[in-house]
Amino acid sequence: MVGTALFFLFAGFAIMCAISMVYHKNPLYSAISLVGVFIALSCIYVTLAAPFIAAVQILIYAGAIMVLVVFVIMLLNLDDDRPLNRLRYLYAIGGGLGVVLLAQTLFVFYAVLRAPNQPIDPNVSAGKTLSIGQAMYTEYLLPVEIVGVLLMMAIIGSVMLARRLAQPQLELVIEREEELRNEEE
């Protein structure tokens, strides 16, 4: 009973925030809405007995990624989305695809409902940090290492992408200034 109520509460909150995110033209409003979605999802994870994931979700998504996004929005000083649009047909296409996807979701819901019900074993908890840690360092060691490499690639990539090119070296700039000054004299 409580579970159901909690579920509907958090689910409703998540959906509302999601719709709000898509609706708003101001990127900052969208960002805050997305944070709301994350928090709702985190709560849902807690109800699903996955405390580790819930914590990591807040830490990483809301704490790192969204911070980065907000930084970028502030740095670039973005305005609202402009209203006019060359690709109006995409609205129709997008809407249609969304409807199709919703239909498919409904089907999945219906199908899974009809599937044989598996009872939850309250003793075995797959979400305990201990079990996650054990799995990470024994069975899934290779993917973890690869994730490490991936993170390094991402760091290098983003540094390369965002640097300013052809940063004039200070010494050369000084030399040039001196030449010009000598010519003038």
Binding site: L87, L90, I93, L97, V100, L101, Q104, F107, Y110, A111
Partner: protein, 721 residues
């Protein structure tokens, strides 16, 4: 069969000379060097040829079997064998001797004639190459190698006629010569194929190569085949007559008979030594060589021989009639050559093969003499070729005059000059063709005799005209000919060779309207390099005929058998087994009194007609050398215009509109361009897919994802029910 490796020296010495001249002579640009190399190589060939012909192993001209030299095996596939091998038997021995000797004299003449020309080394390289090809042609021991030489002389003829590459006239004449030769080559090639199909061999001689017996075409023909009937159908029946006609088509191309004769007069645009060598003495006789070499085939094909005789006689009188009206000294001689070649084919056609070869040899002497003499005249007249501007040259150029007079008497047929014996034999054998024709009865021999006799008269007339206009009368050096101011085709402009130091027009680049003859112009005699060959040839023209005096003549002075020439060549003529042929041979050998009497009467008649011709010539032209002849003759019976109009132009038009514009540009280019265009259009169409907008791409990705999901849902539906 005797092997003698010296034979290859005969053909390779000129080739070596050509290569040396081409590679080194061009760098050195020394006339003495090029001339020495060229004449030296021909001298080597001459000495070797005479040595093998007269001395080696008894002399090729006197032994029964040919002297062979197998250089290497070219093609040997199954039954078909074509070797690069040479063979000198009596026929090719005679040819080799006079070709090398006359060639040597002409080479020496040319060193004097072409002095000062910029392409001196090139000229002699080509000339040596020509000698190589010609000697290959006559010394080859099978049809295919002979054809190689045949093509080679055609090529060298093209190179040499078009030697003055800057002259439009020369280039066109060279092309014309080559194309017409090519049409004839088709005939020869198909003929060779047919020979192989019929007899299984293409070799001239029986020989043993690498232990394998090679049978000659002619032994096969004599042993296994019977004569074709004397009908029109035999021509297309695919038998020996077809071979004969096809080979003769090639001979008409090479030897300028009807219908492929128009290239020879145009070939006079080349230098005079070229005209003398190629178009008088050597290349044009290759057709006669082919016919006489294949005489075994021809004796079995009466229709082919009859056609040869008719065409020979027709060409003779056709060319003679044109020669009367020409004003360019070289053109007169060119048409004279065509006419005399007609005589040779007439002789071959009625079965008198040895007489045809005899006339080839004497003709080589006196025609080369006449051409070289005319070269000397042209040289002395500062490259003026129009006879209307000459006159009284016997005072200024005595040696040339005397030597040319020898040639003139020879060609007219005055005894004892060389031409008399050969031409008279031809006339007699034509008249009596019934008796000597291998297949029995001949058709229309009296008519042919009449035509030939008329041609002989015309020959005397036009040669006398030429001599009179050139050497007698008053000097017309500064005479203005009407219509001379604008470019005329048979004009002296053709020879633009630089002339040494006494020259007031520039070197060979110049194209002038007409030669600027200074007012104190006096023609001068030519230097000794040019007159000595003339003297030698004059001597040969006088006494050269005495090797072939027929019985009827020699018996007049009591000598029974002076006809050395005929005896030498006798084994070359195949002895077929047909009763008519046997009878003909018997008739030729017997010297029955009434036959001898008839021969003497006819000889006398021909002498009288020749004298009448000379008298007509003097009478008509001594007093009025510029007398005009009928225009149609001057225009060569409009044969060139006929060919151009009905054959050349329609083909050119068809090629241009249909083949070039229609097919090549329209269809083939259309396909290629069409493919390109199609690819471009398709590319343009496909390009539209790349919209460039990220959101469209996202939508499409989503679409794809939904499709995959839908697939799973479909199967899920089946599961769920």
């Amino acid at each position: 069969m005797t092997e003698n490796n010296l034979l290859s020296l005969i053909i390779f010495a000129p080739l070596l000379g050509a290569v040396i001249n081409w590679l080194i002579g061009g760098k050195l640009k020394n006339e003495m060097f090029s001339g020495l190399i060229a004449c030296g190589s021909i001298l080597v060939s001459t000495i070797v040829a005479f040595y093998i012909a007269f001395v080696a192993g008894g002399g090729a001209l006197f032994i029964d079997k040919p002297v062979l030299d197998h250089i290497w095996t070219w093609i040997h596939v199954g039954n078909f064998r074509a070797d690069f091998g040479l063979g000198m038997d009596r026929l090719s021995g005679i040819y080799a001797c006079f070709i090398t000797f006359v060639g040597l004299l002409i080479h020496i003449f040319a060193t004097g004639y072409m002095r000062g020309d910029k392409g001196f080394y090139r000229f002699f390289a080509y000339l040596n190459l020509f000698m190589f090809a010609m000697l290959t042609l006559i010394l080859a021991d099978n049809y295919l190698l002979m054809f190689v030489g045949w093509e080679g002389v055609g090529l060298c003829s093209y190179l040499l006629i078009g030697y003055y590459i800057k002259k439009d006239e020369a280039r066109k004449a060279a092309k014309k010569a080559f194309v017409m030769n090519r049409i004839g080559d088709w005939g020869v090639l198909i003929g060779i194929f047919l020979v192989f199909t019929l007899t299984g061999s293409i070799s001239f001689f029986d020989k043993t190569v690498d232990g394998q017996q090679v049978q000659s075409v002619f032994t096969f023909v004599l042993a296994n085949m019977s004569a074709d009937p004397f009908t029109w159908g035999a021509i297309v029946a695919g038998g020996l007559t077809s071979v004969g006609v096809l080979l003769f088509i090639g001979a008409t191309g090479k030897s300028a008979q009807i219908p492929l004769l128009t290239w020879l007069p145009d070939a006079m645009a080349g230098p005079t030594p070229v005209s003398a060598l190629i178009h008088a003495a050597t290349m044009v006789t290759a057709g006669v060589y082919l016919v006489v070499r294949s005489n075994a085939i021809y004796q079995m094909s009466p229709t082919a021989m009859w056609i040869i005789a008719i065409i020979g006689a027709a060409t003779a009188i056709f060319a003679a009639s044109i020669a009367i009206a020409q004003n360019d000294i070289k053109k007169v001689l060119a048409y004279s050559t065509v006419s005399q070649l007609g005589f040779m084919f007439l002789a071959a056609g009625v079965g008198a093969f040895t007489v045809a070869i005899f006339h080839v040899m004497t003709h080589a002497f006196f025609k080369a003499l006449l051409f070289l003499g005319s070269g000397s005249v042209i040289h002395g007249m500062h490259h003026e070729q129009d006879m209307r501007k000459m006159g009284n040259l016997k005072k200024h150029m005595p040696i040339t005059f005397i030597t040319m007079a020898m040639g003139w008497l020879a060609i007219c047929g005055i005894p004892i000059w060389a031409g008399f014996f050969s031409k008279d034999e031809i006339l007699y054998k034509t008249f009596a063709a019934d008796k000597y024709f291998p297949s029995g009865a001949f058709l229309g021999e009296e008519f042919l005799y009449g035509v030939a006799l008329l041609t002989a008269v015309l020959t005397a007339v036009y040669m006398t005209r030429m001599m009179v206009m050139t050497f007698w009368g008053e000097e017309r050096f500064h005479h203005e000919i009407e219509g001379e101011h604008h470019a005329s085709t048979d004009h002296a402009r053709s020879e633009v060779v630089g002339h040494g130091t006494d020259d007031d027009h520039a070197a060979d680049d110049d194209e002038e309207e007409h030669h600027h003859i200074p007012h104190d112009f006096k023609p001068h005699e030519s230097p000794w390099v040019m007159t000595v060959p003339l003297i030698i040839l004059a001597f040969l023209s006088t006494v050269g005929g005495l090797v072939g005096v027929p019985y009827a003549m020699s018996s007049l002075v009591g000598i029974k058998d002076a006809n050395t020439f005929e005896h030498v060549l006798e084994p070359v003529i195949a002895e077929t087994e047909m009763p008519t042929a046997v009878a003909a041979r018997e008739a030729a050998k017997s010297h029955a009194p009434e036959v001898v009497q008839k021969e003497r009467l006819l000889a006398g008649l021909s002498v009288v007609m020749a004298a009448i011709g000379i008298a007509i010539g003097f009478g008509l032209f001594l007093k009025s050398p510029l007398r005009k002849m009928p225009k149609i003759l001057e225009e060569k019976w409009r044969l060139d215009e006929f060919y151009n109009g009905y054959i050349v132009d329609p083909i050119t038009r068809f090629s241009t509109t249909s083949l070039w514009k229609g097919f090549d540009v329209g269809f083939i280019d259309g396909i290629v361009n069409g493919i390109g265009g199609f690819v471009m259009e398709a590319g343009n169409a496909v390009r539209g897919i790349q919209v460039g907008y990220v959101r469209s791409y996202a939508a499409i990705i989503l679409l794809g994802a939904l499709a995959v999901l839908g697939y799973f849902i479909y199967y899920g539906l089946k599961l769920v029910g």
